[in-house]
């Protein structure tokens, strides 16, 4: 290899890296735009991903079934005993439930968000192929009325928001993604804060900028704050696991245990519209 050709190659490599890093820097602010090519690629790959996902789930079930059978007999006896206990408890709970309904009516206290949200059910067809980001692809898109910034939930709680939409798919940024930020508050203490993801793959969350005088306790519930946010108010997120001081020292931060199991997401609900009545 001559010195000149080596120099040429180095210059070319340098130019390539500069172009890529510049492109990366400028695309950083515009991840919510999907190019027509990327949009078409997604629409084509989505059915394939769905089939592989279903096949993978079936294989996973098949492989784990023999292991589950080993403890089945013991488990049956335990469940039988548990069943007897639960039957007696159920009678008590029915009575409590009736009482609860009466009290709720008296207080006109709305805890169930479901009647106030219009939702579209969607199946998860894929996930981010890397380990750093947390996003899922769902099988509903523009043609089904899905738009960017729509909130995505499960009956357990908040999942994330739609960031990109193609004809028949949409990408949902999970709240565990490091690029995600959710205006939230602690239900018991009313402490406001920002909920941030840590890494996509792990289901951990942190709530930052909590005022020091409103420090939450372990086990307190965290919900969406609603104010100036794309998320409706009052959607459950998780519980406080640990509270500590932020590095700057002025605020507190909390580790949050999410209600949603992000590694087991199969179906989600996209909130297409909502009307929340404040109590």
């Amino acid at each position: 290899m001559s010195g000149l050709s080596l120099a040429k190659k180095l210059v070319l490599l340098g130019l390539l890296i500069i172009v890529m890093v510049t492109g990366l820097h400028y695309s950083a602010g515009g991840i919510e735009r999907l190019t027509p090519l990327a949009s078409s690629v997604r629409d084509i790959l989505s059915p394939v991903q769905r089939v592989i996902m279903i096949a993978g789930r079936e294989v996973s079930n098949l492989v784990t079934t023999p292991a589950k059978l080993i403890g089945l007999s013991k488990r049956y006896r335990q469940l039988d005993e548990k069943n007897s206990q639960l039957e007696s408890q159920l009678l008590q709970f029915k009575e409590i439930s009736e009482e609860n309904i009466r009290l709720k009516k008296m207080l006109d206290f709305r805890t169930d968000l479901a009647p106030q949200l219009a939702t579209e059910a969607a199946a998860v067809t894929g996930r981010d192929h890397g380990n750093w980001f947390g996003s899922i692809t769902i099988n509903k898109g523009e043609n089904q009325g899905i738009k960017s910034d729509m909130t995505v939930i499960t009956p357990a709680g908040l999942v994330g928001r739609v960031i990109r939409v193609s004809g028949n798919t949409a990408e949902v940024l999970l709240i565990t993604d490091p690029r995600s930020g959710v205006g939230s508050m602690v239900q018991e203490t009313r402490s406001p804060g920002i909920l941030e993801g840590v890494t996509g793959g792990q289901g951990s969350l942190k709530m930052v900028h909590i005022p020091a005088d409103l420090t939450p306790d372990r086990g307190n519930r965290v919900i969406t704050a609603g104010l100036g946010s794309v998320f409706p108010k009052g959607i459950p997120i998780g519980t406080v696991r640990e509270v500590r001081k932020e590095e700057a020292g002025l605020f507190k931060m909390a580790e949050i245990e999410p209600y949603v199991d992000f590694n087991r997401l199969e179906e989600v609900l996209v909130v297409t519209s909502y009307k929340l009545e404040t109590p």
């Binding site: 890529m20 990366l24 950083a28 690629v41 980001f133 890494t199 792990q202 289901g203």
Partner: protein
Amino acid sequence: MRTFYFLALVLGFILLQSTALNFIAINGIKPDLVLVLIILNGFLRGTREGAFLGFVGGVMQDLVSGGYFGMYALTNITAGYLGGLGEGRLYRDNRFIAAGLTWFCTWGAQLVFYLLLAVAEVQVPVLTALIGIIIPVSFYNALVVLLFYGLYYRSHRQGLLSDGQY
């Protein structure tokens, strides 16, 4: 034709990683099969082809992920080049050596990815990145190579990925 098969394999692995591989994720971490493929290609073909096919495979990943364009391309150039450094220097018949090289190259590539995240203004705490992602992925990738290197090596010598020189 060999390059075509290689890129088809990359596309297949991207699909697997976004679907079925999530069922074998440990603590949310799954092996990075595309990265493994690019490292092994570099190991068996040298720095030049390793970096080039790493770049092409990375562009495919960037296209499918639709996010920050160039992030996977630059990461995979690094991985292919680092893998290629082992070519001619390390004994290629031994799966343990291939696994060790994969462990090392995954570290390098993931560190580059971490730096590029900073360029894209995505903040991940260093310790979380190391303990939560880089170290587990390195070991997971090395384990995959321990299990499947023989298959890949045979394909490189006599199968679809062979260039007929053996």
